[in-house]
Symmetry: C2
Subunit: 341 residues, 2 copies
Amino acid sequence: MRTRIPRLQASEALLASLVVALLLIAGGAISATGAQEVLSSWNDTAAKTRIMDFVKATTTAGGEGYVAPEDRIAVFDNDGTLWSEQPIYFQFAFMLDRVKTLAPQNPEWKEKEPFKSVLAGDPSGVVEGGEKGVVDLAMTTHAGMTTDEFSKIVTDWFASARHPKTGKPYDEMTYLPMRELLDYLRANGFKTYIVSGGGVEFMRPMAGKMYGIPPEQVVGSMITTEYAVVGDVPVLKRLPKIDFVDDGPGKPAGINKFIGRRPIFAAGNSDGDYEMLRWVTAAKPPRFAMIVHHTDADREVAYDRKSEIGKLDKALDEAERRNWLVVDMKADWRQVFAFEK
Amino acid sequence: MRTRIPRLQASEALLASLVVALLLIAGGAISATGAQEVLSSWNDTAAKTRIMDFVKATTTAGGEGYVAPEDRIAVFDNDGTLWSEQPIYFQFAFMLDRVKTLAPQNPEWKEKEPFKSVLAGDPSGVVEGGEKGVVDLAMTTHAGMTTDEFSKIVTDWFASARHPKTGKPYDEMTYLPMRELLDYLRANGFKTYIVSGGGVEFMRPMAGKMYGIPPEQVVGSMITTEYAVVGDVPVLKRLPKIDFVDDGPGKPAGINKFIGRRPIFAAGNSDGDYEMLRWVTAAKPPRFAMIVHHTDADREVAYDRKSEIGKLDKALDEAERRNWLVVDMKADWRQVFAFEK
């Protein structure tokens, strides 16, 4: 059959307009008791103004800085930019827990590094053992199952694990001001992406709940998967083989590979984001780059140039030269986590 | 500053509703002269009905087959599914033209295969020379420039090249019924993706104009890119190194990698799409798979099992067993290309 999209009759149009009017009036009444604020956990400092000025410029039709909605791509690093990365990378905590869970089926691990150190409660031994140990650990805990199985393992871990410092579930350890920024950008027609050095399949199962970001808008490091048919069921097996490292110079490459166009907004917090910020801001304006500077040892953590827990050095130097916004967590954020009073 | 989203006053709401009413009435009047049809270049056969029944079921709230909008992912092969692939893959035609364009700067090619065959007007010699020759040709023509430069080369080629059989620009060689299907799915909340064995950066510059598909929704084969700073400008260089082959079993892997969730709708036309169709339909219903069966030697081309120009064999066998829709181009499509009278 040929199916026609019915055209709206004038009478239907009038009815529709009445419904719209009633909804708008009702909406007005509701908003009087719960007026929404933009970026409400940001202090009223220059940082907030700069962000809002950029959004206003890019969304004002006819203005010099206007950007069409389809080109409003915004990319965010994850560890230390959207969620906490201290005192331990969440994915590293996941890895250590996973070794403990799998230990009973692998009795030989008690005598074999890097597992021995983990099971003895000394994960620092793994890191000191160098890159090979960390990769061994990652491959053992992240490969050997199907993609569906791994997704469930990750979801289950987030449901039960607790952050070592706050005792909160890891999915509550996101920065409230950054979640508000994601919401604010999306409300202004931006498409928000995560571009992280972390594993893509570690973030995807949670990114919707935590940030309102769908799986297809998460770019990250990944291992190789392989199609296989088990019984009569096709699956994707996770192989112990690194496919792509989405960090440092890998970030612009990852953006090009997965998104295929240059974002106009990028946020990071460390030198691992430097190349991403450079690449995003190298094209013609308007472009916006920002760095979350961890300056708040009380509410979260403080580090930059000479710190042992993180590195923000080159990117901090360049921020001034390139006019990137440096957000001072202590001064610019009224609240860091949603669970704070 | 704290910025409030102003709440709509009742008077503004009434004004807004009046504007909406006027627009709707005007819209109704316009549509009376140009009523839109759904899938209008499809004949009224069972194929069209099956597609529409699936869309109706997945979009009917409260129905058994309902699928939330965010899970309405649809994936389409490109060569032979969305655009023609006969008598030559468009990307292969691009490659041959590119060799001719670059020949004056590479005088040694006159005596060196695979370039010699191309320049002598005998591209079949390249194919007969085996995979190495084709890869050499692909790397020479697709690598060595920045991503921005390559994008321009592709766009320029599409603007000037003509299809050898029809004499039309290549971007007019898309199947009208499939473009209508893309539109129809999107109008019903589906997110449409290309998942092709072709090069992702060959398709992305044109996918918006040709299909209404943005760059980030094009998945394909790719070569490795590398971040570099030239002068003070960061660029991505295209290296002569294959990164990912998005064909056959690579298609489900590519979908998982780039989209991160399983589509509910997949369309292909050859055995290279078999694993994709299998993987998409292996999860719990509702799932829809379709094969474009090239049965129309007059308007386009005909091939399947024993053909020398394409291969649709295993996927055709399995279609019946797995209840995949086989679209008979000759019987099910009223019109193939938009330029036909």
